[in-house]
């Protein structure tokens, strides 16, 4: 055992109490894949414990075991020194284990208190629930109006509802699964600060699951690092620094800027002048040249009358990557939809190479030369019930047809070529799209959009849910596209990704661009203020 480990157990002894949770040799296999390989984990009361690892390292499976969603094949779980079998979430909740999930499970049409009461057994007492929400809010600094409709809340407030839902049951062990993916850096810090108070004061054990180094360093007391289902290291956070953690997480030195950005090392990415050079290899767009994509004063409302875009203007030049930063839910999705011909403008215009493109005509954006990697690929990127070959010509099947009759040979041949070129893992051109993994589905989208040789490429959250390898592939493809002279618009709620890829950064807030700066001139603090809506 290394020094870090002995120190860790030392802390437990100092506290002179039985650990809140102790996992010993927990193993879980899914077919040939071992998601968790004899994992040991000790959670102490009064401490924030970080669990760090890449996508697929086994973090989520481990947490699912802890809250009874997955049954382990081997190993034991002790809660407060007692051995327990956690068969379902109900059992976990009886043991005082609660989890705030990464994806919200809230009903938009209901109010805050209704959502909090949802899933409770027994008689419903609205007054009591509302009162309790007030209490929790006051106590933890999570104030919220119990009568507000969840659908009207910002992502940060929705998460607050999720946390209140969890805290209402007074859990002694609280798990946060990637809680900051929808928050501004500011909001994240507030969240962590309030939890440090709570944890210290009330002796709860808190687990923070994350793949962001900055966050783990800032918010946790101890950290367990997982790689490929195994615990590879445990340390006291105060003794660790970012490079050490990153090395433990990937199992080698991390040098690529893209990778580092993927781990959330904003400042490292921003501060290292040697790395900025890599983006100079490409030919950044010449701002004096006319923009390829130009949006002017674009405003749009949803059919329900909610403002989607509010006078948004932006320009993207050939060969540059414009990154749109911002907290999710500030119009990024409508912007992507606008460029996919899914949103009609009430005023304003979109031009490609100077020509106005109608926002009312379906398909006008695609035929004007705008390729899109959509935020939700199942929504408008791929058709799961069609084959890979069909998905590769989705936008314009006429390309593989003679006078309206599809040419099977041509369809299959061009599909095979793209499958090889983009290294798409699938059973062949005729494999149904749903049989592909998320990363490979994303490659199909990328392959198709690039094969149409677009003038503009829109990447909307292009790396969401992908693992590090796939992220690297995607980011390098986007860079290549830009250096081939495509105007690339990157819409991402991962600030690190924007900072890593973009030549220029624009911040989106409430449906409009509220600030713009060249990559070299970026000040992260100012950026996050803009993201939070502060006037600068």
């Amino acid at each position: 055992m290394n020094a870090d480990h002995s120190e860790l157990t030392g802390v437990g002894a100092d506290a002179a109490s039985t650990p809140a949770v102790e996992l010993r040799g927990v193993t879980k296999r899914f077919g040939a894949v071992t998601a968790c390989d004899s994992v040991d984990l000790v959670l102490q009361r009064g401490k924030i414990h970080g669990i760090l690892g890449e996508n697929g390292a086994g973090k989520s499976t481990l947490m699912k075991i802890l809250i009874g969603l997955v049954l382990p094949d081997e190993g034991s779980i002790h809660v407060d020194g007692q051995a327990h079998q956690i068969h379902d979430p109900l059992a976990a909740s009886k043991l005082g284990i609660g989890m705030v999930h990464q994806h919200f499970s809230l009903v938009d049409a209901l109010t805050v208190w209704e959502n909090v009461a949802l899933g409770e057994a027994g008689r419903l007492d609205p007054q009591a629930v509302q009162h309790r929400i007030g209490e929790i809010g006051e106590h933890y600094g999570l104030t919220i109006d119990p009568m507000a409709r969840v659908g009207d809340l910002t992502a940060g407030l929705r998460q607050r509802v999720e946390i209140i839902k969890c805290l209402r049951r007074d859990p002694s062990i609280v798990i946060f699964d990637e809680p900051t993916s929808v928050l501004t850096p500011e909001e994240s810090m507030t969240l962590f600060a309030s939890f440090r108070d709570v944890v210290a004061a009330e002796g709860r054990a808190v687990v923070l699951v994350s793949h962001k180094l900055d966050e783990v360093i800032a918010a946790t007391d101890e950290v367990t690092i997982m790689r490929q289902g195994k615990v590879v290291d445990e340390m006291i956070t105060a003794d660790a620094d970012a490079p050490t953690l990153a090395r433990a997480m990937v199992g080698r030195d991390v040098s690529l800027r893209g990778e580092r950005a993927a781990f959330g090392l904003v400042n490292a990415a921003a501060a290292d002048p040697a790395d900025v050079g890599t983006s100079d290899d490409s030919t950044p767009g010449d701002p004096s040249s006319p923009a390829v994509l130009s949006i002017r004063e674009a405003s749009a409302r949803s059919p329900q009358g909610i403002t989607l875009l509010d006078g948004l203007s932006l320009d993207v030049h050939a060969g540059e990557i414009l990154g749109i930063a911002g907290v999710e839910g500030n119009g990024q999705r409508p912007l992507g939809d606008l460029l996919s011909s899914l949103v009609t403008l009430s005023s304003g215009e979109v031009r490609v190479s100077g020509e106005i493109v109608s926002t009312k005509t379906p398909g006008a954006m695609a035929s004007a030369g705008i390729g899109v990697i959509p935020e939700d690929r199942h929504d408008s990127g791929v058709v799961l019930d069609m084959t890979v070959a069909e998905n590769l010509v989705l936008i314009d099947p006429a390309r593989a047809a003679n006078r309206g009759v599809l040419d099977r040979t041509r369809l299959v041949e061009s599909a095979e070529q793209l499958i090889a070129e983009f290294d798409i893992q699938c059973a062949g051109p005729d494999a149904p799209m749903w049989s592909l993994s998320g990363g490979n589905q994303q490659r199909v989208v990328l392959a198709r959009e690039l094969s149409y040789e677009p003038k503009v490429l829109v990447g909307a959250q292009p790396t969401r849910g992908l693992d590090v390898g796939a992220i690297e592939y995607m980011t390098s493809r986007l860079r290549d596209a830009a250096s081939d002279g495509v105007a690339v618009l990157l819409i991402s709620s991962e600030l690190e990704e924007v900072l890593d890829l973009a030549d220029r950064v624009a911040v989106m807030f409430r449906g409009r661009i509220v600030g713009e700066m060249a990559r070299d001139a970026v000040d992260v603090e100012q950026l996050s203020l803009l993201m939070g809506g502060a006037a600068v």
């Binding site: 996919s340 011909s341 899914l342 005509t361 379906p362 398909g363 006008a364 954006m365 695609a366 035929s367 899109v372 929504d379 408008s380 990127g381 791929v382 058709v383 799961l384 019930d385 069609m386 069909e390 989705l394 936008i395 314009d396 099947p397 006429a398 047809a401 309206g404 009759v405 599809l406 099977r408 059973a427 062949g428 005729d430 494999a431 749903w434 049989s435 592909l436 993994s437 998320g438 849910g465």
Partner: protein, 370 residues
């Protein structure tokens, strides 16, 4: 290579599953029917014999069955088109009636050579059906009324409307029939009826050929043309379709019109005749005779595929022609209705089971991978 082999094996497995499911569910229906007939004092063997004789082995019967199958198949093809576009058109019974009424109306007002008249009346039938489905389509795409409801409710309107037209000489009522017991139209002149082809003592109606050719054509169009590709895409993912330039309104409306046109054509074909005499070349109250509903079931059982629909339509038509012989066995009509219902149910269950299972598999596959 091994992937291709394993895919082949999977396909074979699926075929075995299908056959097994159908065999099992039809067997259960037959046993239940036999029990029912026996306990109500009839002979189950005699009933099944009568079913087979009435639909297949009796003199001239399979020709009749083909004649009954033709309009069912046409309706089913229309259903398949709308279903592929993601639209639920369930008002074929009404579209068929309106189509037939259009055909009847024009047939007594044109005076060309027989084949010309036939083409005109079939085109009018298709137009009538298309208009009726188009009304539901217009409500759907410009007013947001769910087409499931509007198509269904328009069936009732169609029944009332055709009844009204049948009461008016200037519309459909035969001249000089005021005071007759039933309102019926004139009978179609022999020159203007659809011809039959005599084979082995059976009259194979022209309509059957027409329906099969259209089924093959539709199967090809759906699988191998950009039109079919776009239609499927619209049905599976309206947003992806919109991005690709497929207007939901324009494309969906066209699919709806075409769907209704097939039902209307079926009505025209029933009127202009074939092996199975639906109403002796006249338009009568209740002309549709459930063919619209049956066609809907055919499409459902054929899982919205045009070529299987040919066979399925024949099976449903057999139940119809066969059951007319069952009456002679002395078994109560109510009992034979139940038997017919059980057999239809037996055909509907396997697709439902497979659908549920496939969906569960697909969901498992997607959740595992995300």
């Amino acid at each position: 290579m091994s992937d291709a082999v394993s895919q082949g094996v999977k396909r074979q497995q699926r075929q075995v599953e299908w056959v097994g499911l159908y065999a099992a569910s039809v067997a259960v229906a037959l046993v239940a029917s036999a029990l029912l007939i026996q306990t109500t004092g009839g002979s189950s063997l005699a009933v099944f014999d009568a079913l087979i004789e009435g639909s297949l082995t009796g003199t001239g019967r399979w020709g009749l069955t083909l004649g009954a199958a033709a309009p069912m198949l046409l309706v089913a093809l229309g259903t398949i088109i709308s279903a592929r576009a993601g639209l639920v058109n369930i008002g074929q019974e009404g579209q068929l009636a309106i189509g037939a009424a259009f055909a009847v109306y024009i047939s007594f007002r044109i005076d060309g050579p027989g084949p010309f008249n036939l083409v005109v009346l079939m085109v009018f039938g298709a137009i009538g059906g298309a208009l009726w489905a188009g009304a539901a389509g217009a409500l759907r795409f410009w007013r947001g009324v769910p087409e499931v409801l509007s198509t269904l409710l328009l069936v009732t309107v169609a029944t009332q409307l055709t009844a009204y037209a049948l009461g008016r000489e200037w519309l459909l009522l035969a001249p000089d029939s005021v005071g007759a017991r039933n309102n019926v139209s004139e009978q179609l002149a022999e020159d203007n009826r659809l011809p039959n082809l005599s084979v082995l003592g059976n009259q194979i109606p022209f309509a059957a050929f027409l329906a099969v050719v259209l089924a093959l054509g539709l199967a090809f169009a759906l699988a191998r043309t950009t039109w079919g590709f776009r239609l499927r895409m619209l049905g599976k993912s309206p947003k992806a379709a919109q991005r690709a330039g497929i207007s939901q309104t324009r494309f969906g409306m066209r699919a709806m019109l075409l769907s209704g046109a097939f039902a209307g054509l079926a009505g025209a074909v029933m009127f202009a005749g074939g092996g199975f005499q639906f109403s002796n070349f006249k338009f009568v109250p209740g002309f549709s005779g459930n063919i619209g509903w049956t066609g809907l079931l055919v499409a459902l059982v054929a899982r919205e595929k045009a070529i299987p629909a040919i066979l399925v339509a024949f099976v449903f038509a057999s139940l119809r022609t066969g059951s007319s012989f069952v009456g002679s066995t002395g078994v109560e009509a109510r009992v034979t209705d139940v038997v017919e219902g059980l057999l239809v149910l037996a055909l509907l269950i396997p697709p439902a089971v497979m659908f549920l299972r496939d969906r569960r598999r697909a969901r498992l596959a997607t959740t595992e991978r995300t």
